[in-house]
């Protein structure tokens, strides 16, 4: 049994939180370049130039890419042969607390949804745990903006709605809320599971790299088709009109009940802040 100290987890999360707020990853920046080339609207091209310049300024480390530094979401995959010396949950939360405080990041988390008092340190983060093989701890970190999260949707479709029903729901989600979610977007689409699982896998999909397609060719083709359909909506960068509304559609699937066809669309804005580390 391998053992790692909880303090190492805290440090890794702190570093991810601080880095991601300032530095978009190469896959996202490449998607911007590609999008700028494809965009035909002049206003849309100008938006791409602005977000690329914004990324350059933010990468200098003085000002975050976006003032909404997000609510932190962490997927922790724990190898069965690993033991964390200390409290893993507390270690992750402490990492978020330190990262958002020391990084001069905006604290956007309220302690209660209706009484709405800010916790002051951006905790709690939302953490999803899973147990797998090996003796490592894999942390996937996302700083998820609230504006795009608000445009996300979930539906319990009927099996008879089928593939077309799922696809229509995804396109409809972008049609309704895309303009408000800071396009160009990355869509995380969950299909299957049950009520809570479908939202979780949609989030996982949203945090996946925009240049990674689903390993199943059937779903990889659906990702491409959905991207093309969403881009025909005309919404464009920042919703001001254009042919590039989404940069990528990422699909994750899970087995489901025979009466069910759950689908969830987790909308991510162009501030696609995701990263992972293996400890």
């Amino acid at each position: 049994m391998r053992v790692i100290e909880a303090a190492k987890v805290t440090e890794a999360v702190r570093a991810l939180a601080m880095e991601k707020a300032y530095k978009l990853s190469g896959d996202v920046l490449r998607a911007f370049d590609e999008g700028e080339k494809k965009e035909k609207s002049e206003t849309g091209k100008e938006i791409f130039r602005q977000i690329k310049e914004n990324a350059e300024i933010a990468a200098q480390g003085e000002v975050p890419y976006c003032q909404d530094c997000g609510m932190a979401v962490i997927f922790a995959e724990i190898g069965k042969d690993l033991r964390v010396d200390g409290n893993l949950e507390a270690a992750i939360q402490e990492g978020v607390r330190r990262g958002y405080t020391e990084g001069y990041l905006r604290k956007s988390v309220l302690g209660d949804p209706l009484r709405r008092k800010n916790t002051g340190d951006n905790t709690p983060a939302v953490i999803h745990y899973s147990i797998g093989e090996g003796d490592k701890l894999k942390l996937t970190f996302g700083a998820k903006g609230g504006g795009s999260e608000n445009m996300s949707r979930l539906a319990m479709l009927k099996p008879s709605d089928g593939e077309e029903g799922v696809k229509n729901f995804v396109v409809e989600t972008v049609s309704i809320g895309g303009a408000n979610a800071c396009p160009p977007l990355v869509l995380g689409v969950g299909i299957g599971g049950n009520f809570e699982k479908v939202a979780e896998i949609a989030k996982k999909a949203a945090l996946r790299s925009p240049d990674k397609r689903n390993p199943d060719p059937y779903y990889a083709a659906m990702e491409e088709e959905l991207k093309a359909r969403c881009n025909k909506l005309g919404i464009g960068p920042m919703g001001l009109g254009g042919v590039v509304t989404v940069l990528a559609v990422n699909i994750e699937v899970f087995p489901c009940h025979l009466v069910a066809l759950p689908v969830a669309v987790n909308v991510n804005c162009h501030a696609d802040r995701h990263g992972e580390i293996v400890l």
């Binding site: 975050p64 976006c66 001069y104 504006g147």
Partner: protein
């Protein structure tokens, strides 16, 4: 599509010139307020309190900046989504507000009030928090400090790059822009 350099406070005459798609470089004093600050302003009015800034001709920026580093004016300061302020905007226009800076679609009540009171809605690039930071020369909290990022702020901006996304003739760039590009690839 015209390009304008505009100074705050705004007048009805200036707003009447603006049409959707026009590019604007805005300079002068603007006020940063969003959900919680709007609620405080209007709750205060209902109790007979005064609005804590000069609303006449004012431009309100829907923004909740990230904290300023030591010695810096402000942190990242891009626009937030406007529809959450739709419930408050018509009343603010009635009080004299002449411009809004944010991003995203508005409802019909807001559009109608913009026609009635000659108000412009300017779009800033959402998520471009670091870029917009450069245009903000001064920032101070003027009220509701306890709201943190949502406090009411007075800011001095210089050549803030904006696009007119809603004009006082009912024009809506979100609808028009999409219509122009729908079905194309």
């Amino acid at each position: 599509m015209a390009e304008y350099k505009i100074q705050t406070p705004l007048t009805a005459e200036v707003v009447k010139k603006l049409k959707i798609g026009d590019k604007v470089l805005l300079s002068g004093v603007i006020y940063g307020a969003r959900d919680a600050a709007h609620k405080r302003i209007l709750d205060g009015l209902a109790k007979g309190e005064k609005v804590p800034f000069d609303v006449e001709g004012s431009v309100i920026y829907y923004v909740g900046p990230s904290p300023a580093r030591p010695g810096k004016v402000i942190g990242a300061a891009g626009p937030t989504t406007a529809y959450r302020m739709d419930a408050y905007a018509p009343k603010m226009m009635e009080l004299g507000m002449r411009g809004m800076i944010a991003k995203g679609k508005r409802n019909d009540a807001v559009k109608d009030a913009m026609k009635k009171h000659f108000v412009a809605y300017f779009g800033a690039t959402g998520g471009a928090g670091a870029l917009i930071n450069k245009c903000i020369k001064k920032a101070e909290v003027v009220a509701y400090e306890d709201l943190g990022p949502e406090a009411l702020r007075r800011m001095e901006v210089s050549d803030f790059p904006l696009v007119v996304v809603g004009d006082c003739y009912g024009g809506d760039l979100y609808a028009e822009g999409r219509k122009q590009w729908e079905g194309k690839s």
